[in-house]
C-alpha cells in the first residue's frame, strides 16, 4: 500500500512496516487497522514523522507508532523509539511538552445504584476541591523552594509524607512514583516558578477527573486481580507536570537544538533535536525530565487524595466503607532507561514514549507483586461521552514494542471545528442524555472537548488487542466529569 508516497508493507492484519531506505537507521512499524489508514493517515504528516524518527542516531529495532498515531512535534503522537545508551541520543520531542502526562485509576467499593442520585453533588465537590482550568492553582498551599526541591526529587513519596495518600499507593504507581536520578538543580528557576502553585491542579484542555462505572468485563480473572467488578464506581485522573514540565521542555529544546547542531546531526526535522544520552546536555535533560516526571506523579497523587476527600464529603461514609484504592498510574509522555532484548541480548536502552503507555508482561519485576501473575494494568482513556478501557500488558508487547501500547483516542476535530459544530446544540443536555454530569470551567471547554471532537478509542484498543500487544480487561463508561 502507498500512502502519501510512502510504502507500507503489511506484516499482519494491523501491523505495517515502512522499509528502511535512504538514511533511515531502522524500518518504521505502525500498528493500525486498514480502515484507520484509509480514513485518517493520509491527512497529516504522521507517517513521515515515523520515517524521520528512524534517522535518530542509535535507534534500535524500529521506529514505532501505536494506532492512535497522529501528527506531533518531531515525533508523532503514539510514537515509541528506543536508543542505545552508548551511541544513542535522547530527544525532548520524543517526550513532549507535558512530561509525564499520564492516567491513574482508582476503585471504590461503591456500585452505581448507590451513587446515582448523588452524582451531581459528587461532581460539584470534585470541582470545588480540585482546581481546574487555565491557570489553575491553589489546591494546596504554595510550596517553598525547599519543598519544591523535595517534590522534584521524591515524586509521589512527597505527597505520602505529607498525608496526601497511603504508603501503598507508591507500589501501584509506575516507577513507584519516583525516578531516582532526578536533579532539581537541572530545573530552571522559571520552571520552578511555573509549577510552585500548581501541585494538585488539573489544568485544562484534555485533562480531566472522571467518575466511571465498570460497564463490561472482558477478562474476569484479571479484572478480579485489578480489583474491578461490574457496576463498580471508579475514578480516572488524567493530567501531567503542568507549567513546570512545559517550561523544562521549552528550556531544553533550546539547549538541545544548539547541541544537535554542534554534534553535527543532520536530522530531517528540527524538532527531532537530540543530544547523546551520555553528553552533558543529554544527562541534564534526562535529570530535569525526571524531576518533571516526579512532579507529575506527585500531582496525580494529590489530586487522587482530593478526589477521595470529595467522595467522603458527598457520601458521608468511613474510608473503609468507601474502599478508595489505587489500581495503577501510568505515564504516556516519558523517556526511561529500561532493559530490553535487542537481538537476543539484554541491554539497557532509552525508551521514548510520546503518547504511548508502558505495557509490561506477567512476570516483570517492575510491576506490583499483586499483578505479577497477570501483567501490568494499561489505562486507555477515551472521550467524556463514550468509554475508556483497562487492558493488560503482554510478553508480545515486550518482544515487539519495547513493552509499549497506545494511550488514547486522539482528536478528530480541531477546536475551531468543534466550537462550530457545537453551535446551536445544548451539549450539557446531550451529555446528560448519555448519562454524564459535567462541570467545567467554561462552556467553551465542553464544546472543544465534546465526544464528537475525538476519535473512537475502541478502535485503537481493539488493534492492540487483536495484535496481542495488550489484552482488554474492562470497559468503563463515564457518569460524571470535571474539566478545565
Amino acid at each position: 500500500m502507498i500512502i502519501n508516497e510512502i510504502e507500507l508493507k503489511q506484516l499482519s492484519p494491523n501491523l505495517w512496516e515502512i522499509p528502511r531506505t535512504g538514511d533511515m537507521n531502522v524500518p518504521g512499524r505502525i500498528y493500525i487497522s486498514q480502515k484507520m489508514i484509509e480514513r485518517s493517515l493520509q491527512n497529516d504528516q504522521a507517517l513521515q514523522q515515523v520515517i524521520n524518527v528512524a534517522h535518530l542516531p542509535g535507534i534500535q529495532k524500529y521506529s514505532l507508532a501505536m494506532p492512535d498515531i497522529h501528527w506531533g512535534y518531531g515525533f508523532p503522537i503514539g510514537g515509541v523509539a528506543a536508543t542505545d545508551l552508548d551511541e544513542g541520543v535522547i530527544s525532548p520531542g520524543g517526550v513532549g511538552y507535558d512530561i509525564n502526562c499520564g492516567v491513574r485509576l482508582a476503585t471504590t467499593l461503591l456500585e452505581y445504584d448507590f451513587v446515582k442520585d448523588k452524582i451531581e453533588s459528587l461532581i460539584s465537590n470534585l470541582f470545588q476541591n480540585i482546581p481546574t482550568g487555565v491557570g489553575a492553582h491553589g489546591a494546596i498551599k504554595k510550596l517553598s523552594p525547599k519543598e519544591m526541591k523535595q517534590v522534584l526529587t521524591k515524586g509521589s513519596v512527597w505527597a505520602i509524607e505529607n498525608n496526601l495518600g497511603n504508603s501503598s499507593d507508591i507500589d501501584f504507581t509506575e516507577e513507584s512514583g519516583t525516578l531516582k536520578n532526578a536533579d532539581p538543580d537541572s530545573v530552571s528557576q522559571r520552571a520552578i516558578e511555573r509549577g510552585v502553585d500548581q501541585v494538585g491542579t488539573l489544568g485544562s484542555g484534555n485533562h480531566f477527573c472522571e467518575v466511571d462505572i465498570v460497564e463490561e468485563i472482558y477478562d474476569e480473572k484479571i479484572a478480579n486481580v485489578f480489583g474491578l467488578f461490574p457496576n463498580q464506581i471508579v475514578v480516572q485522573i488524567h493530567t501531567g507536570s503542568r507549567g513546570l514540565g512545559y517550561q523544562i521542555c521549552d528550556d531544553y529544546l533550546k539547549t538541545i537544538l544548539k547541541a544537535s547542531n554542534a554534534y553535527g546531526y543532520n536530522l530531517p526535522d528540527k524538532q527531532l533535536a537530540c543530544a547523546p544520552i551520555k553528553s552533558k546536555e543529554g544527562k541534564d535533560y534526562l535529570s530535569a525530565m525526571q524531576a518533571a516526571a516526579n512532579f507529575a506523579w506527585n500531582n496525580r497523587q494529590v489530586i487522587m487524595h482530593l478526589a477521595k476527600k470529595s467522595f467522603l464529603q458527598t457520601f458521608k461514609m468511613s474510608e473503609s466503607v468507601l474502599g478508595f484504592n489505587l489500581v495503577y498510574d501510568v505515564c504516556h509522555n516519558i523517556a526511561k532507561i529500561e532493559e530490553h532484548n535487542i537481538n537476543d541480548e539484554l541491554k539497557n536502552v532509552c525508551v521514548h514514549r510520546k503518547g504511548a503507555t508502558r505495557a509490561f508482561p506477567p512476570g516483570s519485576k517492575l510491576i506490583p507483586t499483586k499483578y505479577r501473575e497477570v501483567g501490568q494494568p494499561v489505562l486507555i482513556p477515551g472521550d467524556m461521552g463514550r468509554y475508556s478501557f483497562v487492558a493488560v500488558g503482554t510478553e508480545k508487547a515486550m518482544h515487539e514494542t519495547f513493552g509499549s501500547s497506545c494511550h488514547g483516542a486522539g482528536r478528530n476535530l480541531s477546536r475551531t471545528k468543534a466550537m462550530k459544530d457545537a453551535k446551536g446544540r445544548n451539549l450539557l443536555e446531550e451529555l446528560h442524555k448519555r448519562g454524564v454530569v459535567i462541570q467545567a470551567s467554561g462552556y467553551k471547554t465542553i464544546a472543544e472537548e465534546m465526544p464528537d471532537a475525538y476519535k473512537d478509542v475502541s478502535e485503537v484498543v481493539n488493534v492492540m488487542h487483536e495484535e496481542g500487544i495488550t489484552k482488554k480487561v474492562a470497559k468503563l463508561r463515564p457518569i460524571g466529569v470535571i474539566k478545565g
Binding site: 511538552y97 487555565v134 491557570g135 516558578e193 512545559y246 521549552d250 529544546l253 533550546k254 480541531s414 467553551k444
Partner: protein
C-alpha cells in the same frame, strides 16, 4: 505598518500564518495573536512597561523566545501583555538581537475570562521567510 494573520485549522493546537511588511511587525503580529488567544478581555488595571532583551542564533528561536517570554509573564506573574510599544531586531556578529518594550498589566484570574492555556510556543513548521518584500511564518502554540 502593515501585517495580517490567518488562523489555521489545527486538530489539537492553535496555529496561524502571519505576514508583515517588516520583520519587527511580524513579531508584533505574532504577539498580538498570542494575546488574542489568551483572552478577549481588556484588562482595566494600570499599564506597566517591561523591557525585553533577547539574543539568539536564529530568527525562529528568537521569535519562540520572545513569545515564550510573554507567556512566562502571563503564567507565573499573572501579568498580561496588551501591546508592543517598541521593538527592534538586528543581526550582529551572526546573532539576532531583540530589544522591545511591551505594555501590560497584572490581572485577577478570577475577574478575567481566559480562553486558552498555552503550554508552550513550538518550533513546529516555523520558518521565517522573506519573499517579495514580505516576511512570513507559521506559528503553532501547544495548548
Amino acid at each position: 505598518m502593515s501585517w495580517n494573520y490567518k488562523i489555521i485549522d489545527h486538530t489539537a493546537d492553535i496555529a496561524f500564518d502571519v505576514e508583515a511588511d517588516e520583520l519587527n511587525e511580524l513579531f508584533i503580529a505574532s504577539a498580538q495573536v498570542w494575546r488574542e488567544s489568551i483572552s478577549d478581555d481588556m484588562v482595566a488595571a494600570a499599564s506597566e512597561e517591561k523591557s525585553l532583551e533577547i539574543n539568539e542564533e536564529s530568527l525562529e528561536v528568537l521569535l519562540v523566545s520572545f513569545l515564550s517570554e510573554l507567556n512566562y509573564f502571563f503564567q507565573s506573574e499573572s501579568w498580561i501583555m496588551n501591546s508592543v510599544r517598541t521593538i527592534e531586531i538586528i543581526k550582529e556578529c551572526n546573532e539576532w538581537h531583540l530589544r522591545a518594550k511591551v505594555l501590560g498589566s497584572h490581572f485577577d484570574r478570577n475577574k478575567v475570562k481566559l480562553k486558552a492555556e498555552i503550554k508552550a510556543i513550538t518550533y513546529h513548521q516555523m520558518e521565517i521567510k522573506e519573499q517579495q518584500g514580505k516576511f512570513s511564518t507559521r506559528v503553532v502554540f501547544d495548548i
